[in-house]
Amino acid sequence: MFEQIVPAILVSIVAFFSVYIITPFLIRALEKRNLRVKDYHRKGGAMIPRPGGPSILIGIIASELTLYAFFPTTAIITILITTSLAFVVGMIDDRKALGGWFKPLALAASAISIIFLGAYDTNLTFPLFGSFKIPALYLVLIIFIIPITGNTINSIDVLNGVVSGFMTIASFSLSASLFIIQNYEIAIASLPLGFVSLAFYKYHKFPSKIFPGDSGALTLGVMYGVIAILGHVEIVAAIALLPAVINSFLFLSSVKRIVEHRQIKNPTTVTSDFKLMATSDKDAPITLLRLILATGPMTEKQIVFVIFKLTLFSASLAIITAFMMGIKI
C-alpha cells in the first residue's frame, strides 16, 4: 500500500495541473479560431469557446502515462485507448452534428478495445448477495456499459459547470469505493478522472469560460465506464450516477426513442430576469432539469446547486454500497 501512495499523489497532481494550465491556452486558441457557441441562459447571450475536450484528454493521457511508468499494466492501456477513442467520437460530433444513433454505435465500437485487451472479469458483483459469473452476457454488457455511461454523462451537460462538477463528485466516490474494496491499482488509475474534472470545473462553473462539448463529456463518461468495468464496481458506479441515470430514464420514457438532443424541444425557457423555468410545451421532453424547475423558476446557479446535492446523495449511497460489498448474507 505504502509504495502506491507516491504514484497516487503524483498522478493526481499531474492530472489537476495539466488541465488547470492547458485550459486557458485552449480557450484563447478556440477564441482565435472563432470556435464558440451561444450560452442561451446568459444575459446578452455570451459566446463561449467549445470544445474543452482536448485539455481534458491531455490531462488524462499525461496522468495515466505517469502511472504507467510506475505500474505498466494492461488496465492503464485499456483506459488510454478506450478514452481516446471516445474523445475522437466526441470531436466528430462537436464538428459535425450527427444523428442520434451515431454516438451510441461509435462508442460501442470503442468498447471493443476492452474485450480485445482482455482487461475484464466476467463476474458481476452485487452488494450483500455476492457475485455471479456470466461469460456470454458480460461481453454484451461491456458493449452496452460504455455507450450508456458516455451518453448519460453527455445528457446532463445542460448548464454551466454541471457535467464537470457532477463528474468530480461521482468519480471521487468511485475512487473511494475502489479503495474500500481494496482494489488499489484501479483506485489510483481512477484518481485522474476526479482531478481532471475538478480542474476543468474551475473554468466551466458559472459563468463558464469554456464548454466541454461532446468531446469533453464523452471522454469523462467513457473513462468512468471503463474504470467501472476494470475495477469490477459496475453496480457501485451505476449508483453514483443515479441523478444522470434518472435524467436519461425520464428523457427516454417521455421521448420514447434515441434522438440527438439538438433535435428535441427545449424543456426549459428563460424568464425576463434570466431565471430558468419549466416550459409549458407538452411536446418537450421530461428531464431532471424540468422536474427541479417544477417548483418554480430558479437561477442557473441554484439549479446546479440542487443537482450537486442530488449527486452528493447518490455518491453517499455508492460508498455505502461499496461497504456492503464486503458483507455476505
Partner: protein, 80 residues
C-alpha cells in the same frame, strides 16, 4: 425549493438495485448444467445464456416497476 421526491426516487432506485441484484444472484445460483460427464466451456456457456435470459427478464421487470413508481411519484410535477 422542495425536491424531496427526487431524493426519494434516487433512494427507491438504490433499494431496487440491491433487491434486484439479490434476486438475480439467488435465481442464477440455482442454475447448473447437468447430464454431462465433464463440465466444459460449452456447458458453461449454456448456463451463461440461461443466466443472461433471467437477467434480461429481471431488468425488464425492474424498468417496468421503476416506470410505475416514477409515474406515481412525479405525477403532480409532470402534470405541471
Amino acid at each position: 425549493m422542495k425536491n424531496y421526491t427526487i431524493f426519494s426516487f434516487i433512494f427507491v432506485m438504490w433499494i431496487l438495485i440491491i433487491i434486484g441484484g439479490g434476486l438475480l444472484v439467488a435465481l442464477t445460483s440455482m442454475i447448473s448444467i447437468q447430464g454431462y460427464v465433464t463440465v466444459g466451456p460449452l456447458e458453461l456457456y449454456y448456463a451463461s445464456i440461461a443466466k443472461a435470459l433471467i437477467a434480461i427478464i429481471l431488468v425488464i421487470i425492474w424498468i417496468y416497476v421503476l416506470t410505475k413508481i416514477k409515474n406515481w411519484m412525479f405525477h403532480k410535477k409532470i402534470k405541471n
